[in-house]
């Protein structure tokens, strides 16, 4: 049996995906279902004085109009959700906190009837002062988003290592810069969509979500249900990128279904998707102390994540950012503070490369400025300061399995680093840039799996990992087949169903291949151990070592004896046999004092890199990305093709927020919540050349590393550094629009002019 891991086992539904015939959650229908639409606040911050529902109730097909009052009238309902901070009401209770906050639900026989009735729900508001910018919101006297948080602080995290102040004072040179990344949107192709129905006090939902068990727990808490009384199915999810982590619209739909006593479906329109979850706008203040030879001696950072109106994942997210902000450099003296701040904007959550892209844009941009100032090669300056095996990270933990030297070698080779770019036409300039990043994975977390041998020989995997196009299912099937020693065709894998598939924390943070892979491997070993015991018992092979191969048991040294697993089942009178596996980490930042983070924060460290070559139109500032390279450390590669596709995906997905993606607020309201005004890269924007590398360990037992977002945070700085190399223009605000590039080119040329003038004197 050849090893399955390391080969390209194709997505079983690849053809159906391409043909457009694959069914997603969006296609799921339930007999007798009715439809719900949310009435959303047009104002960023206001008291809800009254909600008049009569006119809407009189509209054709309308069954019910539900408000915050209906919610609070039900004593069984806990009206707010969110973990760890339950600050988000299912429907606005006393006030709305952002434009887009749901105020009422209209339930009607058809989706169109519900949509038609929306404007007839008359909401009286009393406007309150609002705040959009997180730095302003953190200042005293700013409008207060949540009364119990008068400083608008969602979370504060602190990391101290060495003595930053004194090291900074002794540094030969100190560089201090502020970087800003704007709010952005994930834009999954499938919107959030959910069908909910109640039966005998139990709630069943089908939802486009990345964390079915987290949704189950969230629903159980809102509706006061015992564990297991909410049941969550996810089916094929049409893209997530972090937008569908945690609980989203499910409580609204569950509430509507409870109220009308029928199955209810809600599908968000595109503008509602924009209004439901976004990427944190982030201000990063970064100061680095450097010796004249390029050695980094001190780093001070203050990071303010704009959480939006509700905490969602920002409490822990700001802590994750804390552990990633240092970058992949050995810096002996570090002081990092991260905060998340409430504002009257769309709530924010993880965005592929969660919390990290904003940080990497800062530290990987500044390092190129430092290199230029020291007249050093940017790659050489990185190499001088790289984190290496057994270095101590600012968290105090000793790091292992680091591969940054190889990643830099790989970038240099891929982009011909030492060769100057090919000459550009007059009026245009070319340059190359690179970036490297470090990222922890969600720790602590837990994945459970069951592998079941069935009478016909099928090996069925029960896992709550969500297939959302990334290829989790074929990858996990390969891991199972590899560990069981059977052809992958014998492995079956369905969709998460929390009544059937065991607990998993979430399908995010690039953790599935590693964590669920480990749980499935352990379940496979458990199954084999049970089969070994059966063979022993039924065939009297006591004392002999038994090997498993191709679904058969063979005693060592007696290859002529082959007992099929299915025969063992039959002989034992069993119709099936299960192996159980768990992978769990029980340490990490959520168990630490946020103001004194110390100790290991990640089960292993994700290492990613990117390089870009760009051509800049010096008259317009428009940037053409000629080629990109995306690279990561994968430990061992399960599927070379899917790793390459993930790296390519990082390059393309990353170019959006790098070059043009940005949410605009006007009078506190999102002004571009549609795909005409909010741009994502089209196929024509994809660089002509995207190359990919996945570094592997020499160790055949090396840990699998997730690769879904490794290269992504390196994309923005790689492109920005390439622009800097081409033009001398440094841009500290994303996206790198032609207008910003042109302005920076003009400023750089003015500055050069001044320097030259000074030199002449």
């Amino acid at each position: 049996m050849p090893d399955t891991v390391g080969t390209d086992f194709r997505h079983r539904d690849a053809e159906r995906r391409v043909l457009g015939t694959l069914e997603f959650v969006l296609d799921h229908k339930v007999e007798g279902m009715v439809h719900a639409k949310a009435v959303r606040s047009p104002l960023p911050h206001a008291r809800v004085v009254a909600v008049h529902t009569e006119d809407a109730l009189a509209m054709p097909g309308v069954i019910a109009v539900l408000t915050g009052q209906d919610l609070t009238a039900n004593p069984d309902i806990d009206p707010c959700f969110g973990k760890p901070r339950a600050d988000q009401p299912v429907l606005a209770i006393d006030k709305v906190r952002y434009a887009g906050d749901p105020v009422a639900i209209v339930v009607a026989e058809t989706e169109h009837q519900a949509w038609e009735a929306l404007p007839y729900v008359d909401v009286e508001y009393d406007e309150l002062p609002y705040v959009v910018d997180a730095v302003q919101a953190a200042r005293p006297g700013a409008p207060v988003v949540h009364d119990d948080r008068p400083d608008n602080n969602v979370a504060t995290w602190r990391l101290r290592h060495g003595d930053c102040d004194s090291a900074m004072a002794k540094a030969d040179r100190v560089y201090s810069d502020t970087y800003y990344s704007p709010p952005a949107s994930h834009v999954p192709m499938e919107p959030m969509v959910c069908v909910a129905q109640w039966s005998e006090g139990q709630l069943e939902v089908w939802t486009s979500a990345q964390a079915p068990h987290a949704v189950r727990q969230g629903l159980e808490k809102v509706f006061g249900l015992p564990a297991g009384h909410a049941r969550v199915h996810t089916l094929n999810v049409g893209g997530g990128y972090g937008a569908k982590g945690q609980v989203k619209i499910e409580p609204m739909v569950g509430f509507a279904s409870l109220a009308v006593g029928r199955p209810v479906r809600m599908e968000l329109s595109r503008d509602e998707v924009f209004q439901t979850i976004g990427k944190h706008a982030t201000t990063v203040e970064l100061t680095t102390g450097v010796m004249n030879d390029g050695t980094f001696v001190a780093r001070r950072m203050h990071v303010n994540y704009n959480a939006g109106a509700y905490a969602v994942t920002s409490v822990v997210g700001a802590g994750q950012g804390l552990t990633r902000a240092n970058g992949p450099y050995a810096i002996p003296n570090v002081a990092i503070d991260t905060v998340a701040t409430y504002t009257n904007t769309v709530p924010c959550g993880p965005f592929r490369g969660a919390m990290t892209s904003q940080l990497a844009f800062a530290y990987e941009s500044q390092i190129d400025d430092i290199a230029r100032d020291l007249q050093m090669d940017p790659l050489a300056l990185r190499r001088k300061n790289l984190l290496r095996e057994t270095d101590v990270y600012p968290t105090g933990e000793t790091l292992h399995d680091l591969h940054y030297d190889e990643l830099l070698d790989d970038l240099a080779a891929a982009i011909d680093w030492t060769a100057p770019p090919a000459p550009a036409e007059p009026g245009r300039a070319r340059g190359k840039g690179l970036g490297i990043i470090i990222k922890n994975t969600l720790t602590p977390s837990r994945s459970e799996a069951v592998v079941r041998l069935e009478a016909d020989g099928t090996l069925r995997i029960f896992s709550s990992s969500v297939e959302m196009g990334q290829g989790a299912n074929p990858t996990l099937a390969q891991i199972a087949a590899d560990r069981l020693g059977v052809p992958v065709d014998r492995v079956a894998l369905g969709f998460p169903d929390t009544a059937v598939t065991p607990f998993d924390t979430t399908t995010s943070s690039s953790r599935t291949t590693f964590s669920m892979g480990a749980a499935i491997s352990s379940a496979a070993e458990d199954l084999q151990a049970r089969l070994t015991a059966l063979a022993d018992e039924l065939h009297g092979l006591g004392g002999m070592q038994l090997n498993h191969d191709d679904g058969q048991v063979t005693p060592a040294g007696r290859p002529e004896v082959r007992i099929a697993w299915t025969d063992l089942l039959e002989k034992a009178g069993l119709t099936e046999l299960e192996g159980h596996g768990v992978f769990q980490t029980d340490y990490g930042i959520t168990l630490m004092d946020p103001l004194d983070v110390k100790g290991p924060v990640s089960v292993h460290w994700h290492q990613g890199a990117a390089a870009a070559e760009v051509e800049v139109d010096l008259e317009t500032g428009k940037v053409d990305v000629l080629r990109m390279h995306a690279s990561c450390y994968a430990g061992r590669v399960v599927s070379p093709l899917r790793v390459e596709q993930q790296n390519q995906g990082c390059a393309v997905f990353g170019l959006g927020p790098t070059l043009f993606e940005e949410l605009h607020y006007q009078d506190g309201t999102l002004s571009n919540p549609n795909l005409s005004d909010y741009m994502i890269p089209s196929i024509v924007d994809v660089p002509a050349t995207i190359t990919s590398t996945a570094l592997e360990s020499d160790d055949p037992q090396a840990e699998l590393h997730g690769v879904g977002e490794m290269a992504l945070p390196a994309v923005s700085p790689a492109v920005s550094n390439a622009i800097f190399a081409a033009t001398g223009a440094r841009i500290t605000t994303l996206p790198l629009t032609p207008e910003r590039v042109l302005q920076a080119i003009e400023e750089a040329s003015t500055a050069r002019g001044r320097t030259e003038l000074g030199a002449q004197r």
Binding site: T620, K622, P681, L742
Partner: protein
């Protein structure tokens, strides 16, 4: 209020009669790429929709007496790939080929594009620069309006409630003609223009007999600077003349601000792309995309 009535007339006269029945509530729909989006965003709430897609007389491209006549419901893809249009007015074909993406171009129609009057769309500027005219029909009969005068503001035209665009005519060039349309996108490749420049010169023995430069996407209506164009007349179009017209355009136009660029950036880009457009037809390089 939802759409109460959806009609599919088979003749142009039936179409304007259907419109006249509900002059304030009816909307014409053809490709649907604009109307449906606006309805979904509640920017439009028509009480009746008059679909003109099935009217045979409104579709197709024909040439008579040197004039190319494009029926209003001809799709942008059909215009872009028409040998007649490409020969007769290559900048118009090019502009139609640059709208949105293939899915949009296969559904959107040229008449609908003009009637929508999106300030940032490509075809209007190109059509205006080559002197295209629009035939409009309605209860008061037929009239002809130059495309340059059709759009009067953001999503506003000279069309009366019961009128519709019947066809677009491209007049025959008097002599040797060079033309180009440049679309400058500041964001993704599927974006509307930040600046769109259509330039056309008619030459008489190497000298400019007539010229037009029309800038779209920078204001609510198409923008021209006729006095700058007048200076071209009788001259050879060279780099210096191109630069001079470009400077005059940048000075004359009051550009707007939107997500694609600030007013001051647009002013700079007007200068860059008017100059580049004119240089392209100086060199006879043909209409390359920016």
């Amino acid at each position: 209020m939802s759409v109460q009535r959806f009609v599919e007339p088979q003749t142009v006269a039936d179409a304007w009669r259907d419109l006249a029945e509900d002059p304030w509530g009816a909307k014409v729909i053809a490709g649907g790429t604009a109307v449906v989006l606006m309805m979904r965003q509640r920017l439009l709430a028509p009480s009746s929709l008059v679909s003109i897609r099935g009217i045979p007389a409104l579709r197709g491209i024909a040439t008579a007496d040197g004039v190319v006549r494009i029926g209003a419901t001809t799709t942008l893809s059909e215009v872009a790939s028409s040998p007649e249009v490409r020969r007769h007015a290559p900048s118009v074909a090019r502009a139609c080929a640059l709208v949105g993406n293939p899915r949009v171009r296969n559904a959107a129609t040229l008449g609908g594009n003009l009637a929508e009057a999106d300030y940032a769309s490509d075809p209007p500027a190109a059509l205006a620069a080559v002197g295209a005219r629009c035939t409009i029909v309605g209860p008061d009969g037929q009239r002809t309006v130059p495309v340059a005068e059709l759009i009067t503001g953001f999503y506003e035209t000279v069309l009366a409630p019961a009128e519709l665009v019947e066809s677009i005519e491209l007049p025959a060039p008097a002599g040797e003609r060079r033309e180009v349309y440049l679309k400058y996108r500041s964001r993704s490749s599927e974006d509307r223009a930040c600046v769109g420049v259509a330039a056309r010169i008619d030459l008489d023995r190497g000298r400019v007999a007539d010229a037009d430069v029309v800038v779209g996407a920078v204001a609510s209506t198409l923008q021209r600077a006729p006095e700058a164009l007048a200076e071209l007349r009788g001259r050879r179009l060279d780099a210096e003349a191109a630069g001079s017209v470009a400077r005059a355009y940048a000075a004359a136009i009051e550009p707007m601000h939107d997500g694609r660029g600030s007013a001051s950036y647009r002013r700079k880009m007007i200068q860059v792309f008017v100059r580049r457009a004119l240089l392209q037809i100086t060199d006879e390089a043909g209409g390359e995309d920016a």
